[in-house]
C-alpha cells in the first residue's frame, strides 16, 4: 500500500473570482488579502491556502499585490482584522475558514466595494460576498474505501474539528464508502473542537488508538495525528489532510487529500 493516491481537489475558485474582480472594475492592480485561521507552517490547510496565494502572485505578477494575516481567531478578532484589511485598500479578501462566516458578512455590509470570498460557508448576505468550496468528499470517499479494506479491527476513526457542513460531509462520505467494502466496520468520531492544536489532535488520535481503532482520518490542520499513528510501528494507518504530509509516507500515511487552491 505504498502507492500514493494523489487526490488533488483543485479549486478553480481563486482564479475565477480573482480574474472577475479585476476586470469588472477595470483596475490595473488588485490587492488580494488572505485571512488564515492557523499558522502558515501548519503543514496542512493554511499552508496549502498560502501556497495558493503565492501561486496567484506568480501567475499575475505585477498586477496583483498579496497580503495575509496568520492565526486569526474566528470571532470578534477576525472582524477587526477584516475591517482593517478593507480600510487598508484590499480589493478582494479571502476568508479561509468556516468560522469567519458571520464576520465576513458583517464587514462586507460596511464595504460594498470590496469583494469577499469565504471558504466553505453557506451565507451570502450581500452581493459582494461569495463562497467557495472544493469537493473534499470525493477524496474522503477514497479514504473510506481504503479504511474499509485496510482495517483489521474493523474499527475506524475520524478526528473531526467542528460539526459544520464541510466536516460532516467528509465523515459521511468516509463512513459510507468504508461500509460499502466492509459491512462490519464501525466508525468512532472524536470532535476536537479546534482547527489547530497539535497536542489535542495527538491526544484525540491516542484516544482512538487506545480503543482499538487502526485507521484514522483527521479533519484538523496539523500533522500530529499522523505522528501519533507513527508511534505504533505500522499497526495504525492514517491519511494526509489538506496537504501532502509526505514526511509520513514511509510510515502510517497511505494517501493524502491535497487541497490545490492555485490558479
Amino acid at each position: 500500500m505504498k502507492r500514493r493516491n494523489l487526490l488533488a481537489t483543485a479549486a478553480m475558485g481563486l482564479t475565477l473570482a480573482f480574474g472577475g474582480a479585476a476586470s469588472a472594475q477595470g483596475m490595473d492592480k488588485v490587492k488580494a488579502c488572505f485571512v488564515y485561521v492557523g499558522p502558515i507552517g501548519d503543514g496542512g490547510w493554511t499552508y496549502q491556502h498560502h501556497q495558493g496565494a503565492l501561486a496567484v502572485k506568480e501567475e499575475f505578477g505585477d498586477k496583483v499585490e498579496i497580503q495575509w494575516q496568520e492565526s486569526v481567531p474566528e470571532g470578534a478578532d477576525s472582524e477587526r482584522v477584516l475591517t482593517q484589511m478593507a480600510l487598508g485598500g484590499c480589493n478582494i479578501i479571502f476568508t479561509t475558514s468556516f468560522g469567519y462566516m458571520d464576520p465576513t458578512n458583517a464587514v462586507a455590509a460596511k464595504f460594498p466595494d470590496v469583494k469577499f470570498e469565504h471558504a466553505t460557508g453557506f451565507k451570502r448576505e450581500h452581493p459582494n460576498v461569495t463562497t467557495y468550496n472544493a469537493r473534499f468528499y470525493e477524496g474522503r470517499a477514497v479514504q473510506g474505501h481504503i479504511a474499509g479494506k485496510m482495517t483489521k479491527s474493523n474499527k475506524i476513526g475520524y478526528i473531526g474539528s467542528f460539526p459544520i457542513p464541510e466536516v460532516v460531509m467528509g465523515i459521511n462520505s468516509y463512513y459510507l464508502h468504508a461500509k460499502k467494502v466492509n459491512p462490519d466496520v464501525q466508525l468512532s468520531v472524536v470532535w476536537a473542537f479546534t482547527w489547530f492544536d497539535p497536542a489535542k489532535e495527538a491526544d484525540a488520535a491516542k484516544a482512538l488508538i487506545d480503543q482499538g481503532v487502526d485507521v484514522i482520518a483527521s479533519h484538523t490542520d496539523s500533522t500530529a495525528p499522523l505522528a501519533e499513528a507513527a508511534k505504533t510501528n505500522g499497526a495504525v494507518i492514517g491519511f494526509g489532510q489538506a496537504s501532502d504530509m509526505a514526511e509520513y509516507k514511509d510510515g502510517p500515511r497511505v494517501s493524502s487529500i491535497i487541497d490545490n487552491w492555485a490558479p
Binding site: 492557523g38 499558522p39 502558515i40 507552517g41 501548519d42 503543514g43 496568520e70 492565526s71 476513526g157 468512532s188 468520531v189 472524536v190 470532535w191 476536537a192 473542537f193 479546534t194 489547530f196 492544536d197 497539535p198 497536542a199 489535542k200 495527538a202 491526544d203 484525540a204 491516542k206 484516544a207 482512538l208 487506545d210 480503543q211 481503532v213 496539523s222 500533522t223 500530529a224 505522528a227 507513527a230 504530509m245 509526505a246 514526511e247
Partner: protein, 310 residues
Amino acid sequence: MDFGGINPVILIATLMASAVPILLAALGETVVERAGVLNLGVEGMMVIGALGGFIVAVHSGSPLLGFLGGAVAGALLSLIFAALTQVFLANQVATGLALTLFGLGVSSLGGQGYNGIKPPATGQLLPDALAKLPVVGPIVFGHDWVVYFSIFMTAALWWVLKATRIGLIIRAVGESHEAAHALGYKVNRIRLMCIAFGGAMAGIGGAYLSLIRVPQWVDGITAGAGWIALAIVVFASWKPWRVLLGAWLFGGITVLQLNLQVAGSGIPVEYLSMAPYLITILVLVIMSAGRRGKANGAPASLGQNFHASR
C-alpha cells in the same frame, strides 16, 4: 475492566503523560511566584523551549540534549523578562504578556525550515517486561523519563520550598521583599534566578510537546498550554503537590473527554471542557472562604517590583 468502553488503566497512563508539559511549566511558575514575581510569559517560554529543544535534538540526534536545549532556550527568554522587571523595574503583567507574544513570534520565525522534520524518538525508560505487567505496568513503568522527571521535580520542589534554607529565602523574598532586603538578601538577584529556573522548566515542558507528545515542530505548538499552567498555579495555591494534582486533573479531563467521545458517551463535550475551570473557581472560593479575607495563600509581594531605595 472497562467502564463504558474506557479502560481506566490506559486512561491514567495517558493522562500522566499528557499532563507533563503543563505540570513542568506550572512547577516552574510556582517557584517564580513564590519569589514574588508574576511572570505571565509562560506560554512564550514554553514555545521557545519547544523550538529550542527541537532544533538541538534534530541537529545533535539526541533527545536528551534536546531537552537541555529547551531548558536553556526557555531560561534565556525568561532572562529578558528578568532584565526588564528586576533591573529596569517594568510592570510585570505587561512585560509578561509581551514575553508571550514575543516568544510566539520569535519561535515562528526561528522555526522556518523545521516544519515536517521528525525529531529523534524517546522511548520508554524501563524495559518492556516491566511495562507489560497488568495494571501497574502502563501506569507505573510504561513511561518515558520525562514523566518520572516531572514527578521527581514535584517532590523536590515541595521539599526545597518547605524544608531548606533556599526555600525559606525564596519564600521570604516573595512574602515581604523589604524584610528580606533588611536581612541582607539580594532580593532582585534571588528573583532573577527564580525567573531563570521558571523559564527552564517551561522550556522543558515545551520541549516535551515538540519532542515526545506531538512529536514535530509546528508553529504555535503550545496552543495555550502556558495559560493553563498559570491557572493551575493559582488552583494549587502555590503548593507543588497540588500543582501535580491540578495538572493531572486538567490533563485528565482533556484525555477523558476525548475517550468518552470515542466510546460514544452521551455527555456533551462542553461540560467536560469547562469542568477544570469550574473546579478552579470552586476551589478558590472554598479556600478564601475558610480563611476570612486572607487571600488563598498568594505570596504577599506577588507582582510588586522591588528597589532598594524605597
